[in-house]
Point group: C2
Chain length 181, copies 2
Amino acid sequence: MKKISRPTPTAEGLQLDVARDEFVTQWGSIGSAWGINRTMAQIHALLIITSGPLTTDEVMEELKISRGNAHTNLRELVGWGLVRSVIRKGERKEYFEAEKDVWKMFCIIVRERKRREIRPAINVLKDCIDRADGLKSPDAVAFTKQTKALCEFMEMADGVLSKVVRSEQSSIVPWALKFLK
Amino acid sequence: MKKISRPTPTAEGLQLDVARDEFVTQWGSIGSAWGINRTMAQIHALLIITSGPLTTDEVMEELKISRGNAHTNLRELVGWGLVRSVIRKGERKEYFEAEKDVWKMFCIIVRERKRREIRPAINVLKDCIDRADGLKSPDAVAFTKQTKALCEFMEMADGVLSKVVRSEQSSIVPWALKFLK
DNA sequence: TTGTATTTTCAGTATTTAATGAAAACATAA
DNA sequence: TTATGTTTTCATTAAATACTGAAAATACAA
């Protein structure tokens, strides 16, 4: 295994390293507030601020984590579509690089969350509505009314997000924004 | 402690109970996918589909959870503003009821997440930018560029959400929607 | 083939997060 | 005041989640 080569640390270099560490660490805690595994968020952060693609070993080294951990979370990120694997010809190692365009990142995350979380939630709501729909008691009527309201709201949100994300370009939202208040 | 009175279960009543249970349970798992404590989401779900306000004991009974757990999560929900406590005159017990209007719920959640998560994230980014800004190396320039892009995006998102939520009325988003694509 | 580099898996362990339940604190009525 | 109902706290325990590291599987070159 090749040792990662590093330039002799200069004052500037150290300052940058501090900023990068801060970014990676904090992105990790922000991620976990949003229900994302801390390590996954940190790897993502690391790849976002690294110009070239990195190998699993380099990620392990940078974040001081085990191979299994690095491997699993890199795969997860590839699964989300936030990171792609790159194979350099003549080399056997797999490299990983993040999508860096912020708007594209946003679109990917929105699409995945729609698919993984919003859609299932809507299905659950529909299921509950079906079970209670037609029941006559006041309780049942109230229940149906409330779940229907929730369901309609989520479908609306789902639709808005679809449209926002459809164009895949960032100018539309700021533009539409002019019309809001 | 007074036992909760319940009508004799009918076929319809049972069917409703199943639907309610399903809703509460599933809302719990949806919540945890979004970084919200499962019990907190379940209590919220329970209060949303219950017409009258409930006491801590009733919540404990319905969800089969301990007093401490019910207490803590009810307080947390009150802290978010999603649930308010109600005191009935002549009674010593505290009652809890949820905000039921879906649009209001949405506004509360957006405002709180902005405050608790988006704003702090923006501050972290600004801090990282400050540390690296002015450094001349190509790595530093790339780092600054990337973090600035992220920061600007999040500020934009913050602004959009502020406007969406400002009016506190649901008609604006569907209206603005017409302009999207 | 066989050897070597690399990736993947997963049982075991550690860490983090959430829940319990009983005691303490508090509030009100008698 | 004392008695009683109610809320709050918090040390302990339980459950969920994440991580490690080594072994197995895979891929490829010689």
